[in-house]
Subunit: 225 residues, 2 copies
Amino acid sequence: MAAYAQGPHHRSPSVASDPVAGEGRQLILDTAARLLRQEGYAATSLRDIAAECGMKAGSLYHHFSSKDELIGEVLRIGVERVAAEVRRAVMALPPDADARTLLHIAVRTHLTVLLELHDYTSANVRIFGQVPAQVRDAHLGTRDAYERFWSALLKRCARTGGWNPRRKLGLVRLFVINALNGSLEWFADGQSTVEQLAHELTELVLDGLVAREPVAKRARPNAQR
Amino acid sequence: MAAYAQGPHHRSPSVASDPVAGEGRQLILDTAARLLRQEGYAATSLRDIAAECGMKAGSLYHHFSSKDELIGEVLRIGVERVAAEVRRAVMALPPDADARTLLHIAVRTHLTVLLELHDYTSANVRIFGQVPAQVRDAHLGTRDAYERFWSALLKRCARTGGWNPRRKLGLVRLFVINALNGSLEWFADGQSTVEQLAHELTELVLDGLVAREPVAKRARPNAQR
DNA sequence: GTCTATATTTGGATAGAC
DNA sequence: GTCTATCCAAATATAGAC
């Protein structure tokens, strides 16, 4: 619901000097992100977005040259925000943090931004498979950058965490990100919290389903951080 | 590419007595499934489907009362086919099959149908999040039945496989199905086979990333059936 | 920066001939 | 069972007034 957006970077050059410039643009972006998240790509028309902004459809073209440009902006902001949050959370950990903590924090932060904080991120996950090929292709580079961050993170974990060297980290990354983003389709407050979800997924991926001996001896590290 | 479809069950009652009835209908369904898989929901028009069938758009209405009815059929067949295949593969195993074998066969069969066999199943996974709410709601029961099959399978595995009782099987099911279906977006022949994928996912979910001692001693059960 | 009005396109759906 | 022809609705996009 809240109105998050990009940071001071990536602001349109033409309005960089005006302190309140982009307010109209910002409202449009926030509204578009919310509707795209709720309704999907095809069911969100420019008329709908404009109406929610208290405007008419034609007015949007003062801020964006086409629907696809607007959608592209929402997609980009969605990825860059979650990437920035996860990166920050991981970097805030001590340099010698163990693999379990690293993975748990990354998973928890991603889920928090996706499920609780950011309409842009959830809109991205929701509509990425629905947008025209041209929009998707233009956006791929931004997604790739976040995927590379995860690759590096998993590699770091594997070095320090005593991971099974037979695991193919590329597939692990795909599995984990699919599991994270897939939660958007079924997660509902009430049956479980984001914190529980993060804990479960992290333990599943690290320890697997098969019990280790002795079962009862495994501690729950970093459950609340 | 191939033209799979539903079995003798679920045939439209009005044509049940005619041996070749449904041929036109079948062609339309097969074509729709293929296009929906490739292009997505919004980008697949009735004109496109008709053209690929060598027909005109209006002719489709002799076989289906609306686009949504046609799409609903494709969705249903896609789930029922993968459910039938996975169920059959699991039932073909000996009654005392171990949990690792059960899970591996179920995962492999699902991936095979999704990625190699069945346009209907991949179309279902691809467009489920894109269709109008009305179509999706009408289809939910069919999906639920397959989800319940997985729930029962995981419960059976947990009983016989020495699984960690702290794992929440409901979440495990969601994570696994997300990971399976998510592969549709990134799987490409050449970099790895379905068999390798199934093997990796099964081992990841069962054993986790953290190496067990002694690492080298773990066998690779059922790698080639 | 927003409005009204409209051009243009597209796609689902229908009617009736054959 | 398929065709032609057409209707209708919806959506993107543009032009020009204010």
